[in-house]
Amino acid sequence: MAKNMKIKAKLKGDTVNAKVIAKHAMLTYDQAKAKGKEANFITHITAKVGDTIVYDVSTSQFWSKDPQFKFKFKGAAKGDELAITWTDLSGATTTESKKIK
């Protein structure tokens, strides 16, 4: 599995705490222009447990390089798979998952 993300998901009481670092240059339009490259950044992130969406966000170029984010949700158990998918401006999509500890 390609290592495009670092995912940690831990159940505390009835709540899962998820921490993610996504590997992405998050090149803004200004940065891209300065470097003579195409702008490219993550535009959407969705996290699911099974078929249930637990996190869904549309993002901009202004998330940091290799963006870090955290979120919490209920309704999952230890051993469930938390699957995170991001899509970037170029249309590339990456999904990686991790068992909830």
Binding site: I53, S58, S60, W63, K74
Partner: protein, 157 residues
């Protein structure tokens, strides 16, 4: 008696099942509200996303460093007990204002953290404001704001 207890528990367990997070479908706000992402002013971005709204300043807890040493990765934490369906984050330091729009699952927890880029320039003097708008499932709008300073030179955003 034992049997009765057992049956009772069974009914309870069944009843508890649907109380988990209701299914939502993913919303791509970049596709549904494209003008939000090209707006250069916070007010314009809010208008493009939500229309003409009069939000009440209530119910949103925003945690930021008062001075960010680097604009390349400024930690932003948002917490709320509001029953909101949408939570949007804007800032006034970068060329465009919209930073994130969360589509909140029903019974979801609003406790978000992310790191963002903020560009300190001569114009803004390294001073900025983060604005969060929540759209409640009751149809009302809520706003939370906080200002911060960003050290210059840390960001090429």
């Amino acid at each position: 008696m034992e049997r009765r207890k057992f049956l009772g528990l069974g009914v309870m367990a069944l009843a508890a099942l649907p109380a988990t997070i209701s299914a939502i479908t993913s919303i791509d706000f970049r596709a549904t509200k494209p003008d939000t992402w090209t707006a250069h002013k916070v007010d314009d971005a809010i208008k493009a996303l939500f229309g003409d709204i009069t939000p009440v300043e209530q119910g949103i807890e925003l945690t930021l460093p008062s001075v960010a040493s680097s604009g390349a990765a400024v930690p932003v934490a948002i917490k709320s007990d509001l029953d909101a369906k949408t939570v949007a984050v804007f800032q006034d330091m970068n060329p465009e204002s919209a930073t994130a729009v969360f589509n909140v699952p029903e019974n979801g927890i609003i406790d978000y953290f992310m790191k963002i880029k903020l560009k300190a320039t001569d114009e803004n003097g390294g001073k900025g404001v983060i604005t969060v708008i929540a759209e409640g499932r009751d149809g009302k709008f809520y706003i939370g704001k906080k200002s911060l300073d960003v050290a210059k030179g840390g960001c090429e955003g």
